[in-house]
């Protein structure tokens, strides 16, 4: 195992990715990303005349979808359902944690 230390690399915070950038980011093809859009799994920013652009929350969702589809053999409908249910579960878990703080000692 080699070791290397990289000091203070420059960091860009990604605000948006275009369709072609998101395609590379998810290691996939444009049709796959458009499939996500068609199934309402990710939504581009509304900017009709230019190339589709995606915001951070949707970029993360697209990448998560690509991992889940590959690792669990899901299709678009399945991965959409899984992502929605995970979000609901996480929101409920956060609320429950808050509720538990004082209401269930």
């Amino acid at each position: 195992m080699k070791k290397a230390v990289k000091r203070n690399p420059s960091v860009d915070m990604i605000e948006t990715l275009t369709l072609s950038e998101l395609t590379i980011f998810c290691d996939t093809n444009a049709d796959w990303v458009l499939g996500l859009v068609e199934h309402g799994i990710v939504t581009p920013i509304a900017k009709p005349s230019t190339e589709l652009q995606f915001e951070p929350a949707h970029i993360a969702r697209a990448r998560k979808a690509s991992r889940l589809m590959r690792d669990l053999g899901l299709n678009f409908a399945g991965v959409g359902l899984v992502l929605d249910l995970i979000e609901e579960r996480d929101a409920l878990a956060r609320k429950l944690a808050m509720f538990d703080t004082y209401d269930h000692a």
Binding site: M1, K2, K3, A4, V5, K6, R7, N8, P9, S10, V11, D12, M13, I14, I24, F25, D27, P56, A57, I59, A60, R61, R63, K64, S66, R67, L68, R70, D71, L72, G73, V82, I86, A91, A93, R94, K95, A97, M98, T101, Y102, D103
Partner: protein, 307 residues
């Protein structure tokens, strides 16, 4: 050398059929997938199941593993062929992600659960590759910005074009205002000059609940603070502030502190959610005062329960 690690990782006996192995793997992958599971050991279990399946799903490598154990893919009579065989297991279709990140290093620096890894395979012909990692940061780092030393293991190409795992420590600057799911791009830090993308996640916070850019705090108040109103101290991510409680405040009432949530172009708000809490012990005098209050009030909070 007999080794059972891979069978144990999938929870199957040594004489399990190929179908049993596939079924066990699929079940484990669903249960412990890092994007799904909340169990802190999920990453390790998912990775172990994936490694086990990559060996046991192929009859040749399974036979070699049954015979030689953990060293099954070491060069034996025909080293080149053996190595090629070992390499090909990274390219499988229904297989696991190449999560060769050092989760322990992450835990050392961030104290939280690490739930992701590098995507992409080692078997790509293109030399230059972007790499992906995920880190969990404390909420305070997103509020104020921070510098964190992050240790990652990632594949690198040596001069002869072979892939080696390299341990890397990066002094990562976390910009103020990052959100969960946000990607940071570190140019040139991927494989062979590709970029490294780091996805931000937040550690669960003991005090704040996060919804978008808004933060919620469960703020305990005594019954008399809620009844009389007045100022109480409350925490914010940047320090304590005075919060004005309105008279006759309700349990569960939300009080908003505008702009005290997560920073950004549109600042989030901070909400105090009042929780009326009785003291663990009441003095005799306090009890007498409550009795006096009870005789003063005819309010029945159960009137619409039919009780």
């Amino acid at each position: 050398m007999v080794d059972n690690t891979h069978y144990e990782a999938l929870g199957v006996p040594r004489d399990a059929s190929a179908d049993d192995i596939k079924r066990a793997y699929r079940k484990m992958a669903r249960k412990y997938h890092p994007d799904v599971a909340t169990d802190p050991d999920a990453d390790a279990k998912f990775k172990a199941a994936g490694e086990a399946y990559s060996v046991l799903s192929d009859p040749e490598s399974r036979a070699a593993y049954d015979r030689y154990g953990a060293d099954w893919d070491q060069p034996r009579p025909e080293p080149d062929q053996q190595r090629a065989g070992a390499g090909s297991r990274w390219g499988g279709g229904f297989a696991f992600d190449d999560r060769d990140i050092n989760a322990d290093s992450f835990r050392d620096f961030f104290g939280g659960r690490f739930g992701g890894g590098f995507g992409g395979g080692f078997d790509r012909s293109a030399m230059q590759r972007d790499q992906h990692a995920r880190i969990e940061i404390p909420l305070e780092d997103a509020v104020a910005g921070a510098k964190r030393a992050v240790t990652l293991q990632m594949p690198q190409l040596d001069q002869t074009g072979h892939v080696t795992m390299e341990q890397r420590t990066i002094d990562l600057t976390i910009p103020k205002g990052v959100m969960p799911g946000q990607q940071l791009r570190l140019r040139g830090l991927g494989t062979a000059g590709g970029d490294l993308f780091v996805e931000i996640a937040f550690q669960p916070h003991p005090v704040y609940r996060i919804e978008g850019r808004d933060l919620f705090v469960a703020l305990p108040v005594t019954p008399w603070e809620a009844a009389l109103g007045g100022k109480v101290k409350m925490p914010t991510p940047t320090g304590k502030v005075d919060l004005k409680i309105p008279p006759n405040a309700r349990h569960g009432q939300k009080l908003r502190l505008r702009g005290r949530g997560l920073p950004g172009a549109q600042k989030g708000d901070l909400y105090a959610v009042l929780h009326i809490v009785n003291p663990p012990n009441l003095s005799q005098k306090a009890r007498d005062l409550y009795r006096q209050l009870a005789s003063e009030s005819s309010y029945d909070p159960r009137s619409n329960l039919g009780a």
